[in-house]
Symmetry: C2
Subunit: 444 residues, 2 copies
């Protein structure tokens, strides 16, 4: 990419060099660069792509970027691209578009593709039905391997995968799974029924949450996951690449929440500073309202503070340490829930463990912090800080571990119980603990 970066070339209108670079780069490199551009430049650069690469690049873009690109293209080119997309990718793109535009584009599709797409769009958002590909090759248990391979040669060109092949009975119920590899390795006269796996086949229904389905694909290492309707008939398959996209989006969302912000739609660099501020503002406002609690707590203890102003010096240390140990506990539990290691029913066991963890950490930190305080200030202050840290840490890990589980029980995404939220919530209670301990020790 020489010394000048791609986005500079585009911004400077160096059409020839942009086109050259687009010819010489891999699809992934192109997608990466397009996603980094300012929205209006994305369409400009896309138009310079050679025709034969344009569709591959388009398919690999995020729906947001896809829309940017379409906005900059002529109507007939838009129709071509939409028609060429896989039905599941098309449904995903339509999700992001205004209903009026979707209706118009649907009307321009060929009848076959239109039917496939409207079926997908009929399933609830974020459901496995939306994610699946309705184009698959299914086999019969009574066919021979040779016949099956013939069928794949006839129908396989349109299917999203032929590496996982569902085997169906007369009622389109899934009775087994096989793969192209098994068919090719077997003698041509072998029956599909002998080549298929029937034990513990993983499948989901169209209503299953996309994330649950995608996680299953990853955990089991599947190439494709069969999706059945409410009567158990096979209606589609979720391929591994689509599952991975869902998981990456989900993880990006979890990370945003972990940092106390709403998820960003689109590439970090392509979002404007105002856009960044917008996804964070609501959370910060909520957190500052919660932080107002600390002001009230301190007001209650203002006379104590007035008497022993030295107590104020340790306020950030006490609240900070409580917040940090609470954040550690909540992050560990949220991740364990996300990867399926922990269930709701584990709540008592987890809280009891985390309380003990908090006690151990509190003891250690209490000693570590009290020692210099005893030396530099006095023994009373050291005692206060030791006891306060012990109680605060135990309380913080208990709250931090229980809240994500309680959030799930209340039907809220546990990732919402982020480190910033825990920190802020623990702050006020940490102050109460600190000042009560201080009053008792100092006999105020």
């Amino acid at each position: 990419m020489s010394d000048v970066s791609f986005d500079e070339l585009v911004r400077d209108g160096e059409t020839r060099r942009v086109a050259e670079w687009l010819r010489a780069s891999t699809i992934l490199e192109i997608v990466d660069e397009l996603a980094r551009l300012d929205p209006e430049d994305t369409a400009v650069a896309f138009r310079l792509l050679p025709r034969d690469r344009a569709l591959d690049v388009f398919e690999a873009l995020d729906p947001g970027d896809q829309q940017q690109v379409l906005d900059g293209l002529r109507a007939d080119r838009v129709r071509q691209i939409i028609e060429a997309l896989d039905p599941d990718d098309r449904a995903r793109l339509f999700d992001e578009m205004p209903a009026k535009v979707v209706t118009r584009l649907l009307g321009q599709l060929s009848a076959d593709e239109r039917t496939l797409t409207t079926v997908l769009l009929g399933y609830p958002e974020d459901s496995a039905g939306r994610l699946m590909s309705p184009e698959f090759v299914s086999l019969r248990a009574t066919s021979t391997a040779g016949e099956a391979i013939e069928k794949i040669r006839r129908e396989g060109l349109d299917a999203e995968t032929v590496y996982a092949l569902p085997v169906l009975d007369d009622h389109r119920h899934l009775i087994g799974i096989t793969g192209l590899r098994a068919l090719v390795l077997a003698p041509t006269s072998a029956r599909v029924g002998e080549l298929m796996t029937t034990d513990g086949i993983h499948q989901v229904t169209t209503d299953t949450d996309q994330e649950v389905a995608a996680r299953l694909v990853r955990e089991v290492g599947l190439i494709a996951l069969p999706v059945v309707d409410s009567e158990g008939r096979l209606v589609g398959v979720i391929t591994v690449d689509d599952a991975l996209r869902v998981l990456e989006d989900e993880e990006t969302e979890d990370f945003a929440l972990a940092g106390g912000a709403s998820p960003l739609r689109g590439n970090y660099l392509a979002v404007s500073a105002f856009g960044l501020a917008r996804v964070r503002a609501l959370w910060l406002l909520l957190l500052i309202v919660a932080a107002a609690l600390t002001v009230n707590v301190l007001q209650v203890f203002e006379s104590t503070l007035d008497e022993v102003v030295t107590l104020a010096l340790f306020i950030p240390l006490i609240t900070g340490t409580g917040g940090n140990s609470g954040a550690q506990a909540s992050t560990a539990v949220i991740r364990a829930m996300a990867v399926g290691e922990v269930r709701l029913s584990d709540l008592p066991r987890i809280v009891w463990r985390e309380a003990r963890v908090g006690m151990m950490l509190g003891l250690m930190l209490g000693f570590a912090a009290a020692l210099p305080v005893v030396i530099l200030y006095d023994a009373d202050l050291g005692t206060i800080i030791m006891i306060a840290l012990l109680i605060v840490c135990t309380w913080a890990t208990t709250v931090g571990s229980a809240l994500p589980l309680l959030a799930r029980r209340a039907g809220v995404d546990p990732a919402v119980v982020s480190a910033p939220l825990i920190t802020t919530l623990v702050d006020a209670s940490a102050l109460i603990i600190y000042f009560v301990v201080a009053k008792v020790v100092l006999g105020l």
Copy 2:
């Protein structure tokens, strides 16, 4: 699983019911339950598995759990299992074992398997060479599709995948990629050379970082990624399931760091309370040392505090808000780096954007917080809080966005710059800003 949970059945020694459950469940369910058990129970439950399912379950366990299982088995059974593993899975397990045990186990392997394993173990830890499978089927461009399929039938049984097939020249250099699907769909007389992709083939070298290679597999949606040695000769392929495992581990690690803790080895529930405390203790100690800075800062301003004790009431609000906006910025940048949206060279652009974001957020929060303060306290205090929040937020987002990038430049994992670290670092500077603003406004 009826009303009694699996772990209770195991703990109560209900051998018959445990065996029954193990027969009736899917591999994934079994792996999930085994991983949740206390270490000593894992081996007990594993021994009750039917022989034909034991290897599948073993392969799906984490290396830590695998070791627990092996510790509870007789030597000849251990040898059987180790021999049956794929070379890359075996190398991953050996990584976790004491060198003495590895040497003994290597000695018991068949010559072929031993060679494959020692080659893998020769590559650096966390390199693509360690992750790849050395068992693959390669083709020649001059073969026909029919000949290629014959070759796959002969050699494909051992290979980890036949869905992505590297095409090599006489010097074992990668010249193209094809797949079983293309071979099956083509006429048997077609040449492999016409069926392969040659443009923009993705490949990595044995030294490439595992995470980089795995991310490439996910981004491009590959079934297998070719790995070449320093002379460009093909030595293995990384399959999508292995890549996904690496990414999940990496993401779990990033989450742990985001919460300010070292990554946990193994299932959350299987780690003891003491083990949990251990991975968190070091971070908390570091953070409390950093928090000691806040004590020093407050000491400097103790006389100001003594004069206007009301200032103390807002300390947690100021530090908390600064910490939260810094955490938001660092989380966003860390994630953008992890998914490859942002590079080191973007540093100036990012910091400038984040500074503006911080200013906008600071303005908004400043007004939101100052209004009630002006009403409930007085105008001076309101002014102090407004100005302090504006400066603190701008400073916090700047620091929060710059530190992860600087960490990467210094060769440190950016995920180490966690929300707790940013919060603690920002605390002391936020206090300085707050008190300086207060002194100026109050004319002290």
